[in-house]
């Protein structure tokens, strides 16, 4: 548990490390998905190719899209791309950098799926079993079958239990041949991807290092700025809510006092903090009224400046909150809480 927490903390310490962590988890998830998936070749002439190639190509596409979805920065990229220029210029190099770094990370899980699939060999065996060269690998002296029959027999190669063409071509020979081709393709694919990654990574410092440093700084800046803005807004919302609710309670107690025509009871000088926190609501009936009013008639999203408090707890929702200095209800003015 502690080990897991430490690894988790290490990855969270830095946004890039975090994204690399997600990338690694998706690659592991893709191998796990493949081994958990129950591959079931249909062993029918026209369906094998579609099934085999489908399993080879559709899950990588899904994993690629998932890589984008799980990446927090995609909404940041979209926002930066679509925002109006305003007073701040837009740098296409920064957008390109963000997109490239996201696409590179999203590519890893699909590449792992394709490599594992090819190295395992089941998909290619299923997809291309009807194309096995019977003349070279099979029994040339076997009585001639029609083309359709041959296709049907060959299509059953991946399904050993129902294979009936042992005289035409031995099942093991065909499977070994197809698996060898699949593994060769797999290793070539991995070599190609690794070479591409190596070239991309090593050619960059040779050509555009200054531009790269600039793009990296500003893309990081946009990310931090968005987070800080969200934090500032959250702080603001908290203060807004606190003052709004405080003013609601104050307004409530003032209105009730006005309605009952009591003289405002001045709190004794040494009442202490607890009395202040009661905000003037000190009995069961008043509290119930406050709760009912909170539900039925929430206060408008408009804070009064503290000096001009006018006990406006009952203001309806339709009040246009434009000029805070306007007095609202004259009846309440006599019992200002000041």
């Amino acid at each position: 548990m502690d080990k897991f927490r430490m690894i988790f903390q290490f990855f969270q310490s830095n946004q890039e490390s975090f994204m690399n962590g997600i990338c690694g988890i998706m690659a592991l998830a893709s191998t796990q998905m493949y081994s958990a998936f129950d591959f079931n070749c249909p062993c029918l002439p026209h369906y094998n190719l579609a099934y085999g190639l489908g399993i080879l190509l559709v899950p990588p596409f899904i994993l690629f899209l998932l890589g984008f979805v799980l990446n927090n920065n995609i909404s940041m990229l979209a926002e930066e791309w679509r925002r109006p220029q305003g007073q701040r210029g837009k740098d296409p190099a920064v957008l390109r950098y963000m997109f490239c770094s996201m696409a590179q990370r999203a590519m890893i899980a699909p590449v792992v799926w394709v490599s594992v699939t090819l190295l395992d060999g089941k998909c290619i065996t299923c997809a291309f079993c009807t194309l096995v060269p019977v003349e070279t690998l099979g029994n040339a002296s076997h009585p001639r079958l029609s083309q359709g029959e041959v296709q049907r027999v060959l299509a059953r190669i991946p399904c050993k239990e129902i294979y009936n063409g042992q005289q035409l071509i031995a099942n093991e020979v065909a499977v070994r041949y197809l698996r060898c081709i699949s593994q060769a393709l797999g290793w070539c694919f991995v070599l190609l991807m690794t070479t591409l990654a190596f070239l991309v990574r090593s050619l960059r410092p040779c050509f555009s290092q200054a531009a790269f440093l600039k793009s990296r700084y500003w893309s990081h800046y946009i990310d931090i700025e968005r987070k800080l803005f969200d934090e500032t807004c959250a702080e603001h919302a908290r203060s807004f809510a606190k003052v709004c609710i405080q003013q609601f309670f104050e307004g409530m107690s003032t209105d009730l006092v006005a309605a009952r025509c009591h003289l405002p009871r001045k709190a004794p000088a040494d009442a202490g903090e607890a009395a202040e926190k009661l905000l003037g609501i000190t009995d069961w009936g008043t509290m119930n009224m406050a709760l009912k009013s909170w539900h039925r008639c929430k206060p408008p999203l408009h804070l009064h400046p503290p000096a001009l408090s006018t006990g406006n707890g009952w203001a309806g929702e339709g009040q246009p909150p434009t000029h805070p200095s306007e007095p609202r209800r004259e009846t309440a003015a006599y019992y200002s809480w000041v």
Partner: protein
């Protein structure tokens, strides 16, 4: 648990340690990859050699490239190599030192793969069973040339119907495995002796130059890391100032457009400070809209201190 944490911290303490850690992980990954890879010799005369040698030589190239990609220092070295001279001279010895240390670390995983392959023997049996001299083995001696090629090619496949209980197949297989293991152990011995000699004889040649190169390569690496951290710190402060400046300018705009009485000197509560003068729904909506439609310019030189 404590031991794991200590190991983790040790590896993170210096970038050389991190690289050694990655090197070790790649070597383990290479062994794991070999054991989980389902080796399946085609047992066909034209394909055996290509498959066997391919499995022995292509994954090491991939592992070597991975070792270069995953090593942060290779980027640092390339940057140092390609940077314009400017006001800081370039020392070729440092670049050479970095290059050689990167190459050495990247070579570990491929060598591990090749040695494991040779010690296991399957690849060599698959690649060279067709090149055996049939006269040496009883079962293949009196067979026609074409057929003998087919039979020899099937030696790596134990489960093939022709080869299932063939004593000659086992003989060829044992012979090739013996050669393969001898080759594997010899390569391992040669490499370890070479590493031993290199490490022990190094202090006899150019020790001072070596110390300098080591120091400055370490320096370049640390300088790069600290520069990145400083940029991060700077962008955080920049963003903070920019946002505060934005809120402040919104507050001033609101003051200009509304006719509220000035509130200074009223002893505003602590919360009022955090509200920054934005106190109703319309003002908040306006602020959020401005944030999207007109982000503030990237210039905090006019920002008033808060």
């Amino acid at each position: 648990m404590d031991r794991f944490r200590m190991i983790f911290q040790y590896f993170q303490s210096s970038s050389e340690s991190v690289m050694n850690g990655i090197c070790g992980l790649l070597a383990l990954a290479s062994v794991k990859m070999y054991t989980s890879f389902d080796f399946s010799c085609p047992c066909l005369p034209q394909y055996n050699m290509a498959y066997g040698l391919g499995i022995m030589l292509v994954p090491p190239i991939i592992l070597f490239l991975c070792g270069l990609i995953l090593n942060r220092q290779s980027l640092v070295m390339l940057e140092e190599w390609r940077r314009p001279q400017g006001r800081r001279k370039k020392d070729q010895a440092v670049i050479r030192y970095m290059c050689s240390s990167i190459m050495q670390r990247a070579m570990v995983a491929p060598v591990v793969w090749i040695i494991v392959t040779l010690l296991d023997g399957k690849c060599l049996i698959c690649a060279f069973s067709g090149s055996m001299d049939p006269e040496k083995f009883v079962g293949f001696a009196n067979v026609s040339t074409v057929q003998v090629q087919q039979l020899l090619a099937k030696v790596p496949c134990k489960d093939d119907e022709l080869m299932r209980n063939s004593a000659s197949r086992k003989a060829v297989s044992r012979y090739l495995r013996c050669w393969s293991q001898a080759l594997g152990w010899s390569i391992l011995l040669i490499l370890i002796i070479a590493a031993f000699l290199a490490r022990w004889l190094r202090p006899c040649f150019n020790q001072a130059t070596l110390l300098q190169a080591h120091h400055w390569s370490n320096y370049i690496d640390i300088e790069q890391k600290i520069f990145e951290e400083t940029c991060c710190e700077h962008s955080r402060l920049f963003a903070h100032k920019c946002i505060l400046h934005f809120f402040e300018s919104m507050r001033q705009e609101i003051k200009l457009h509304s006719f509220s009485l000035p509130k200074e000197g009223e002893g505003a509560e602590g919360e009022e400070d955090l509200l920054r003068g934005i106190t109703d729904q319309d003002q908040v909506n306006k602020l959020l809209k401005m944030w999207y439609y007109e982000k503030p310019p990237l210039d905090v030189s006019q920002a008033t201190p808060m």
